[in-house]
C-alpha cells in the first residue's frame, strides 16, 4: 500500500521529468526497440535537410546562371544537348547515398523487429473504441492481471505485446519505447518494447478509429523491478468490500459495463475498475485521475469525450459524488 501511495505521489514528478515533447521519437528514446530508430531518424532527417539544402543551392545557382545567360545573351533559344552531365552526376552521387540509406534502414529494421528470445513480461492488449484493455498473461492463471489504459512494465525487461482489437482497427504506439503496430480485429499482431529507465511514457492510438480517435491516449509506466513486483501484488488483490452509498450506486448503475473484482460488478464493456484509483489518468489519458477529475468525468462524460461509448449516467449530483468517492477508494 505504501509503495503504491509513493508511486501516486511520484507520478507527477515523473511526468514533470518527461521531455516537453512526450510523443517525440527523435529524442528521449528509452529502450532497445526505439533507440536504433531514433538514431536512424535523426540521421535520415539530417540527410534529408542536407539534400534539400544542396538542391536549393543548386537551384538558386542554376537560376542565377540562367539569369546571367539571359542578361548576357538575351532570350534567344539555345540549342545543343549539353546539360546531361547534371543528370549523370546527380544520379551518380545520389544513388550511393540512397543505397546506403536503404542498407542502414534494413540494419535498424532487423534490430528492432526481432524480439529477444526471452520476454519475461507478456501482455495482451485489446483495443476498444476508445480505450485499451491490458491483460498480463501468467501461469498460474490466477496471477493474471487485468487493467486498462496504463501499461505498467518493469524496467530493463523486454515486454512482449500481443495486440488485437475488439472492434475497428487501432494502432498501438508508444514512440519513445518502440515501433507502431496495428491492432486488428480477428488477428493477433505481436511486437515488443522495453524501457531502460523508469518513467511515464506517452502513447496514442495511431490508426483512425472513428469518432474519438483523437482521445485514445495511453500511458506506459516503467517501474523498477521491486516496485513492479509490489504493483503486481497489489493488482492481484480484489477490491475491498465496501458498503458505502457509492459502492451501492456503482453496483446498481455501473456494473453492467465495468468490473470491480470482489463485487458483483462484472461488466466488460468498459475498463476494469478494480484498481482504478492507482492509475494516473481517466478516460484513456484524458483527465487526471484526481477527485475532481473523477467527478468531472462522471458528471460530464459526453462533454469531456463527445461520442464516448460510456453514456451520461442518469444520476443526481449526490450519487455521482458518492460514486466518484467510491472509485477513489479503489486503489
Amino acid at each position: 500500500m505504501k509503495l503504491r501511495r509513493a508511486l501516486l505521489i511520484g507520478l507527477p514528478v515523473l511526468l514533470a521529468g518527461c521531455t516537453r515533447r512526450p510523443m517525440g521519437y527523435l529524442e528521449g528514446a528509452a529502450g532497445p526497440a526505439s533507440i536504433p530508430v531514433q538514431r536512424l531518424g535523426n540521421g535520415f532527417v539530417a540527410i534529408a535537410c542536407a539534400v534539400v539544402l544542396i538542391i536549393l543551392a543548386m537551384l538558386l545557382l542554376a537560376i542565377a546562371n540562367g539569369r546571367r545567360a539571359t542578361r548576357e545573351q538575351g532570350g534567344v533559344v539555345r540549342s545543343g544537348t549539353h546539360g546531361l552531365a547534371w543528370i549523370y552526376w546527380g544520379i551518380g552521387v545520389s544513388t550511393p547515398v540512397l543505397v546506403a540509406m536503404t542498407l542502414w534502414n534494413f540494419v535498424v529494421t532487423r534490430e528492432v523487429s526481432a524480439a529477444p528470445a526471452y520476454l519475461p513480461v507478456d501482455v495482451e492488449i485489446t483495443a476498444h473504441r476508445w480505450w485499451w484493455e491490458m491483460r498480463y498473461r501468467a501461469t498460474p492463471a490466477s496471477d493474471m492481471i487485468t487493467t486498462a489504459n496504463e501499461l505498467v512494465i518493469p524496467t530493463g525487461a523486454p515486454v512482449r505485446l500481443r495486440l488485437t482489437s475488439a472492434d475497428v482497427i487501432h494502432d498501438f504506439w508508444v514512440p519513445k519505447l518502440g515501433p507502431k503496430m496495428d491492432m486488428e480485429p480477428g488477428q493477433w499482431n505481436t511486437t515488443w518494447l522495453e524501457a531502460d529507465r523508469p518513467g511515464v511514457y506517452f502513447g496514442q492510438c495511431a490508426e483512425y478509429c472513428g469518432l474519438e480517435h483523437a482521445k485514445m491516449g495511453l500511458r506506459v509506466v516503467a517501474l523498477g523491478p521491486a516496485q513492479y513486483a509490489a504493483w503486481q501484488r497489489g493488482m492481484r488483490q480484489p477490491a475491498p468490500a465496501s458498503a458505502t452509498r457509492g459502492a451501492q450506486v456503482f453496483i446498481a448503475s455501473c456494473s453492467g459495463c465495468h468490473t470491480v473484482r470482489g463485487t458483483d460488478a462484472g461488466g466488460i464493456l468498459g475498463p476494469d475498475l478494480t484498481h482504478v484509483a492507482s492509475r494516473g489518468t481517466l478516460a484513456a489519458g484524458l483527465l487526471p485521475n484526481t477527485p475532481a477529475g473523477r467527478l468531472r468525468w462522471l458528471s460530464a462524460t459526453q462533454q469531456v469525450k463527445p461520442g464516448a461509448q460510456m453514456p451520461q449516467v442518469a444520476l443526481d449530483q449526490a450519487d455521482l459524488a458518492a460514486v466518484a468517492g467510491y472509485l477513489g477508494s479503489l486503489r
Binding site: 515533447r21 517525440g24 542554376a62 540562367g66 532570350g75 539555345r78 490508426e207
Partner: protein
C-alpha cells in the same frame, strides 16, 4: 522582389513573336468551310451536347478547380479547429466528415480531373489532331465526373458525408460501426467516379496511339503526353481494384456478404490491399502528368529544349512500373511479416531514382538555359524545390523501421501535401499561367501573378513545413483535437496561419484570372515563343484546331530553325486537308504514319443522358429504391442502344486531299 521584377517584360508583352501570324495556316475560305463543318448546336442544348475536347477540357478544369476550392474551405475549417489545443469549434463527427471529404475531394475530384482537363485540352493540339479519339466518350467522362462529384456532395448537407477517411478502412467503415448512409455514399460514389476515370483513360490511350499528326513518332511526344499516357494506362489497371473493393464494401454493408467481416470469415486487410493497390499507382497518376506539364513548359521559359528528354520520358514510365510495386508501404504497421515488407521498402527507395532524374533534368535546364522570370517560371522553379522536399520526406517514410514511427503522424500529412500540392497544384497553377493565353487569347497579368506566387509559396510552406516537425514530435493524423500538454499548440497555430495565407494566395489567383479574362493583354498565337504544335495556331484555337494537319519532323516544330537540327523541317503549310465532313487523321501507333481518315461524331446529348441515367441509378441504389433503379437501368440501356447504332466507319480508300 523588386530586383526580380525589374528585368521582367511588361504584362502581355512577353515575346516579340506573340503578335505574328500563326505558323499553322488558316486561309479564310478553308476556315469558313471547316467552321461550318465543325460548328456545334448553339444555345442551351449545345451546352449539354458539345463534344469539343477544348470545351470539355476547360470544363474539367473549372469543375476540378471548384472542387479544389471546396476542399480548401474544408481544410480551412479544420485548421480553425486545430489552431489551438482542446478547441471546440467542431464536433468530432463534423471534423471526421470534413477530413474525409477533404481527402476524397482533393484526391478524386480535384487532382486527377484537373490534369485530365489539361490533357483533354492540350492533347489534340499537341498531337496535331482535331479531337480525341472518342469525342462522345470524352463528353461522357466529364459528365460522369461531374455527376459523381455531385453524388458525393449531396450527402454533405444531409450530414451523411463519408466519415471514414478517404482511405475508408474497414471495419470502421462497415455497417456495424458506421450505420448511416455515409459510407454507402463513398462506396457508390467511387464506383461511379471509377467509370469516368476508366472511360477517360481508355480514350487517352487510344488517342495517343492513333490520333497524331503524321511524323509525330513516339520519340517526339511532349512529356505531358508521356505522363498522361502512363497515368492512363496505370488507371486502367488500378481503378478496377478500388471499384471492386467499393463494390465489396457496399455488398458487405447492404447485403450481408462477408468480404471484410471478420465475423463471417472475411479479412479487413483485404480492403487495405485492394485500396492501396489502387491508391499508390493513383498517387503517381496524379503526379506524373503534372511533372509532364513542367517538363514541357519550363524549358520554354528557359529558352532551350528540356535536358535529358529520353531519361525523363523513360523515368516517367519506370516510376509508374515501380509504382505498382510499393503499395505495401502504406501498410508497414499492419502486422505483415517483415521479410515481405522489406521488398516494398526497398522498392520505395528505388522509386526515387527516376524522380531524381527529372529533378536534375529541370535544374540542368534552368542552369544551361536563358531564364525568363515569368510567373510560370516562378511556379515551376518553386515546384522543383517543393518536389525535392516532398520526395526526400518520402524517402524517410520508405524506411521500414523509421516508418513504424512516422506512419500516421503529421509527418505523413506534410509529406503528402508537399507531394500533392507541391507536385500537382503548383505545376497546375504555373501551367494555367502558361496556357491561359492559348485557351483565352489573353495574357494573365504578371504583376499580380508574382504577388500571387509569393503569397502561395510562403503560405504553403508556412502551412505545411511545420507539419514535419509536428509529425516528428508525434502528433497523430486524423485527430480532431489534441491536448495542450503535448506541446503542439504553437506549431499548429503557425500551420493554421499559413493555411489562411495560402488560401489568400488562391483569392489573389482568382482575382488574377478575373483580371486576365477582363483586360489581359491580347496574347497572339505564341506569346511565349514556345516550340510545340499548340502554339502554331491562333489563340484561342479554332473549333477544328488545325485547318491543315501538319507533318511533324521534330520534337520542337516551332524552334527547328533555331536549334540547328539537321534533317527535315516540320511543314505547316502543306499537309492533309480534311474538309469532307467532320474528319481527322488516324496514324500508325508507333511511327505516326498516316493510316486512315476518321469520321468524327457530331455533338450529342447521349453522353449527358447516360450520365444522368447513371446518377439516378446510383441514387436509387443508395436509398434502396429498386423500382427507380430499374427505370434508370432501362434508360441506361436505351441510351446505350442509341449510342451504338451504326455510324460512319473509317474510310480507308478515300482519296486523301492535300493542301498545298
Amino acid at each position: 522582389m523588386a530586383t526580380i521584377a525589374s528585368d521582367l517584360p511588361r504584362d502581355g508583352v512577353v515575346a516579340d513573336r506573340g503578335t505574328l501570324a500563326p505558323a499553322s495556316p488558316n486561309p479564310p475560305d478553308l476556315a469558313a468551310r471547316l467552321e461550318d463543318i465543325w460548328k456545334e448546336t448553339p444555345g442551351v442544348r449545345g451546352w449539354f451536347s458539345t463534344v469539343d475536347h477544348k470545351v470539355i477540357g476547360i470544363r474539367y478544369m473549372i469543375t476540378a478547380f471548384v472542387f479544389l476550392l471546396v476542399g480548401g474551405l474544408e481544410a480551412l475549417t479544420m485548421r480553425v479547429q486545430l489552431a489551438q489545443p482542446d478547441a471546440r469549434v467542431l464536433t468530432p463527427e463534423q471534423y471526421n466528415q470534413l477530413f474525409s471529404m477533404h481527402g476524397v475531394t482533393m484526391i478524386f475530384l480535384y487532382a486527377l480531373p484537373m490534369l485530365s482537363g489539361f490533357s483533354n485540352y492540350l492533347w489534340p493540339l499537341l498531337l496535331g489532331s482535331r479531337d480525341m479519339a472518342f469525342p462522345r466518350l470524352n463528353a461522357l467522362s466529364y459528365w460522369l465526373f461531374l455527376a459523381a462529384g455531385v453524388f458525393l456532395y449531396i450527402s454533405f448537407p444531409l450530414g451523411a458525408a463519408p466519415d471514414g477517411g478517404w482511405f475508408d478502412y474497414v471495419p470502421n467503415a462497415g455497417r456495424e460501426y458506421s450505420p448511416g448512409p455515409n459510407i454507402d455514399v463513398y462506396a457508390l460514389g467511387l464506383i461511379f467516379l471509377g467509370i469516368s476515370t476508366t472511360v477517360g483513360s481508355a480514350n487517352f490511350v487510344v488517342t495517343l496511339l492513333r490520333m497524331r499528326a503524321p511524323g509525330l513518332s513516339i520519340n517526339r511526344l511532349p512529356i505531358i503526353v508521356w505522363g498522361t499516357l502512363t497515368a492512363s494506362v496505370a488507371n486502367l489497371f488500378a481503378v478496377p481494384a478500388v471499384s471492386l473493393a467499393c463494390l465489396m464494401l457496399w455488398l458487405d454493408r447492404n447485403y450481408g456478404t462477408n468480404f471484410f467481416h471478420v465475423q463471417g470469415g472475411g479479412q479487413p486487410l483485404l480492403w487495405q490491399h485492394l485500396f492501396w493497390m489502387f491508391g499508390h499507382p493513383w498517387v503517381y497518376a496524379i503526379v506524373l502528368p503534372a511533372m509532364g506539364l513542367v517538363s514541357d513548359a519550363l524549358p520554354v521559359h528557359c529558352r532551350r529544349p528540356l535536358v535529358g528528354y529520353t531519361p525523363v520520358a523513360m523515368g516517367t514510365v519506370f516510376t509508374m512500373v515501380i509504382g505498382f510495386g510499393v503499395w505495401l508501404h502504406h501498410m508497414f504497421a499492419s502486422g505483415i511479416p517483415v521479410l515481405a515488407l522489406s521488398f516494398f521498402s526497398a522498392a520505395s527507395f528505388i522509386i526515387t531514382i527516376p524522380s531524381a532524374i527529372a529533378v536534375f533534368a529541370w535544374i540542368a535546364t534552368i542552369h544551361t538555359g536563358r531564364v525568363k522570370f515569368t510567373v510560370p517560371f516562378l511556379y515551376f522553379a518553386g515546384f522543383v524545390l517543393l518536389f525535392v522536399m516532398g520526395g526526400v520526406s518520402g524517402i524517410l517514410t520508405a524506411s521500414l523501421a523509421l516508418d513504424w514511427q512516422l506512419t500516421d503522424t503529421y509527418f505523413v500529412v506534410a509529406h503528402l501535401h508537399y507531394v500533392l500540392l507541391g507536385i500537382n497544384v503548383f505545376p497546375v497553377i504555373g501551367a494555367i499561367y502558361h496556357w491561359f493565353p492559348k485557351m483565352t487569347g489573353r495574357m494573365l497579368p504578371e504583376r499580380l501573378g508574382r504577388w500571387t506566387f509569393a503569397t502561395m509559396f510562403i503560405g504553403f510552406n508556412l502551412a505545411f513545413f511545420p507539419m514535419h516537425w509536428l509529425g516528428l514530435t508525434g502528433m497523430p493524423r486524423r485527430v480532431w483535437t489534441y491536448g495542450a500538454q503535448m506541446g503542439w499548440g504553437t506549431a499548429n497555430l503557425i500551420v493554421s496561419i499559413g493555411a489562411f495565407l495560402f488560401a489568400l494566395g488562391f483569392v489573389l489567383f482568382l482575382l488574377n484570372l478575373w483580371q486576365g479574362l477582363r483586360r489581359g493583354a491580347i496574347a497572339g498565337p505564341n506569346p511565349w515563343d514556345a516550340p510545340t504544335l499548340e502554339w502554331s495556331m491562333s489563340s484561342p484555337p479554332p473549333l477544328y484546331n488545325y485547318a491543315v494537319i501538319p507533318i511533324v519532323a521534330s520534337r520542337h516544330p516551332l524552334w527547328e530553325d533555331r536549334l540547328d537540327e539537321v534533317g527535315d523541317r516540320t511543314t505547316f503549310d502543306r499537309g492533309f486537308l480534311l474538309d469532307n465532313g467532320k474528319e481527322t487523321l488516324g496514324v500508325s501507333p508507333l511511327d505516326g504514319e498516316p493510316a486512315v481518315i476518321l469520321k468524327m461524331p457530331q455533338d450529342s446529348l447521349l453522353p449527358v443522358s447516360l450520365a444522368i441515367a447513371l446518377l439516378v441509378l446510383f441514387c436509387a441504389l443508395l436509398v434502396h429504391q429498386a423500382l427507380l433503379a430499374g427505370i434508370a437501368l432501362l434508360a441506361l440501356l436505351v441510351v446505350l442502344v442509341m449510342w451504338f447504332q451504326p455510324h460512319p466507319s473509317p474510310i480507308e480508300s478515300e482519296r486523301v486531299r492535300m493542301y498545298e
